[in-house]
């Protein structure tokens, strides 16, 4: 069977096949999988995105990016640079109401997932 994308088996998978029960998935991983499979992660991300646009957070971040790009020249900027520019300010300037709302939803998911 010839697939369109050739992806060599990752070493992790190969290892796990040999040593079957040595590596147990962590709690975080389990919950992550549950979040993704139920579609809740996607919903939460869209909700957070929407809230951040509404409160102007996204515009602030875009302004920071533009200022940085103007300084550095648009040809020398990498996505990595921009991520490093935005991350500290971004994490700090989330409105408390938005954060509390999302945390509440995540917590109720955890409760409902019986973890």
């Amino acid at each position: 069977m010839r697939t369109s994308v050739y992806r060599p088996p990752t070493p992790d998978d190969a290892v796990e096949e040999q040593e079957d029960q040595e590596k147990q998935p962590t709690l975080q991983e389990i919950i992550n999988i549950k979040l993704i499979e139920s579609g809740e992660k996607e919903r939460l991300m869209e909700l957070l995105r929407e809230r951040l646009i509404e409160c102007g957070w996204k515009d602030e971040m875009k302004a920071l990016c533009r200022a940085f790009i103007k300084k550095k020249g648009s040809n020398n900027v990498t996505v990595d640079d921009l991520v490093h520019v935005i991350t500290p300010k971004g994490r700090a300037s989330i409105p408390d109401s938005v954060k509390a709302d999302l945390l509440q939803r995540i917590r109720s998911f955890l409760v409902q997932a019986a973890v």
Partner: protein, 178 residues
Amino acid sequence: MSVSNEDNMSPHMQLSSHFFGDLLDSIIVDVASECHRIARLGLDRNLEEEEEELRLSAQARVTVADPSNSGETNGKYVVDIFGQTHPSVANEVFDCMNCGRPIVAGRFAPHLEKCMGKGRKARAKATRSSTASQNRYSRGSPVSAYSSYSNSASTNRLSNGTYSHTVEEYSNGTCEEP
């Protein structure tokens, strides 16, 4: 909901914060990637123009500051009665009253062109209305201009019908009289 005093966060809270941070990081990467794309594809016109203007005003300032340009047989630099030379490119910087950016005075005219022209879709609208009015007036006699105006209105058939109707009436009237 009781929280023990020893723990700053219950395991649930820790886990929630971890996932919240996860979501936030993904969104931050998305925003950064979007801005990067806009910058690299040159989709942000304001950014391009600012870069160009910065470059040009830096250039202008270099030519002004260069001492070998002033005096000698350079025709641009005339000495006035007080013995002062004026640079050919005015190098005072002030803020544009339209967009608020600091602009070199010597580059203000081309800046205004771009600033007032491309800022909104006003440019497309302006050219459309100006060419429309030009077409109207260039048709010659004002009568034909009026008829062309009424034709362009949506009440096309109605106005034509009434017009021809009245014409017919008149012609009928004049025929019948004698």
